[in-house]
Subunit: 281 residues, 2 copies
């Protein structure tokens, strides 16, 4: 199953906030064996949203959308999805009651425009929201799945974790498992040269490198029916790379350099002192 994460919201395109939802959702989908091939962000514009959704449905089996489920005029996600999939929006009584209860609980006045949040595509699976007014939903259509979740992370995250991921886990028989080898002291280009032959013949276990903050990470990834099977596939390759990297490899468990260094100091009863001078603090 290939997925695309489509975020809706002009505030993202204006740079007011970062799309942290895409990162979170990607991690969770990868954990259950779903490949994420695209992230997209589009504004609260009906034409561009419709085009983006059509493009996503063409190239992806699963489209996870965030944002645009609010009560205001520029919240158009459900309307657009319904139009594209040919579904009617129908009032979900239970969601309407939950919205009314929510407003009573926070002692605020519910307005008419909140009612539209209780309209959902006919036949969808409702994803309850315990931290806001907008319910989400899962729509299955012609072999595709479209998931709609609110934008605010405190609402989106529990809905994804509690309802969407379990639903998808049922549908996916694979797990993706990765090991991260952390390297310091050689550059990415030099590292790649060291393991070029392994990169060239990679098959069931894929190898990727990336550089960040003066360090390099080697990611080894396997896709299998069970997590421990995946780890067993990775281990021989991990050991071969470790033997070549020698001291440049400081962790096979994705630990931070500071943590490993501190641990070594403690284990060896070594102290360090720092002194500052000339910079005036």
């Amino acid at each position: 199953m290939n997925a695309e994460i489509l975020a809706v919201g002009t505030e993202l395109l204006m740079g007011q906030i970062a799309n942290t939802n895409a990162q979170y959702i990607s991690k969770k989908l990868n954990d259950i064996g779903v490949n994420v091939y695209y992230h997209s962000v589009v504004g609260d514009n009906p034409i561009r949203l419709k085009d983006s959704l059509l493009a996503a449905l063409k190239r992806s089996d699963l489209v996870v959308m965030t944002g645009g489920l609010g009560p205001t005029q520029d919240d158009i996600t459900k309307e657009t999805v319904s139009e594209v999939l040919g579904k009617k929006l129908v009032l979900h009584e239970e969601s309407l009651e939950r919205i009314k209860t929510f407003f009573n609980r926070i002692n605020r006045k519910m307005t008419d425009n909140n009612v539209k949040q209780a309209y959902l595509p006919e036949g969808c699976i409702v994803v309850e929201n315990n931290n806001g007014t907008a319910p989400g939903c899962i729509v299955e259509n012609n072999g595709k799945i479209v998931v709609m979740l609110p934008g605010p992370p405190p609402e989106m995250i529990p809905m994804l974790d509690d309802t969407v991921i379990p639903y998808l886990r049922e549908k996916s028989e694979y797990r993706i498992v990765s090991k991260y080898l952390r390297v310091f002291g050689i550059g990415e280009s030099q590292l790649e040269e060291l393991i070029m032959d392994l990169i060239d013949k990679q098959e069931r276990v894929t190898i990727a490198t990336y550089a960040k903050d003066g360090q390099v990470t080697v990611r080894l990834t396997a896709k299998s029916k069970k997590e421990d099977e995946g780890l067993c596939e990775i281990l021989p390759l991990q050991n071969e790379i470790a033997s070549r990297l020698k001291d440049a490899l400081y962790s096979t468990e994705n630990e931070e350099l500071e943590f490993v260094a501190s641990k070594m100091l403690l284990d060896n009863n070594i102290t360090i002192a720092t002194a500052e001078s000339c910079t005036g603090g």
Copy 2:
């Protein structure tokens, strides 16, 4: 000029990092009057990268790409752009010298695969990188502009600020200016109802609302040749909205609630005390 920000990197799709570059670039482009209509993220896959680039060029005048300029096999941004735009990659001697100097300075061995980083599309404008090995570039082609920058923010940001933004500023005659009204105590739906008539007849100054952390922000945006002209267009609308929001409006200058509250306490010589009990800390 409409822009799309296209980030290249499988680590983004696996959720290892968030696409903070897109947020930064969006803010900077908006500041100089360039509309950002799409963000896209694609992996280090030649076919999907080519498709994403073709789609971006079809719908956007300016495509700003980040990532995929490294020395390793899966860094394919320049190769793909050159292929799509029909440009040759040629060795830029000055960039090669800068890469050699960089490796000398950090006392690391330069490897053969770093040489490919000095190959750039023929006729491009080179964007120097003072914090890494990969130069970026700006390519003009058939009325479109493609900008390629490295992924790591400490490299990308200065290159964008020092070279790309000045270049684009020359080409764009408009400035976008926004005022952010910060609101607490009423919900987004209730606020929208209060100003619905203004939203309906918005023209030169656009109005958008969004909710975050129990507060609401109203964004008023104008596009004009000079920043102060834009502010003058916004001011009457800002005042009208303020008169309707009354005490629920706590800042017209995008200040945080905690800051405004603290200032009011200090100005009025009021102290507050907190006591904790029963939670065991």
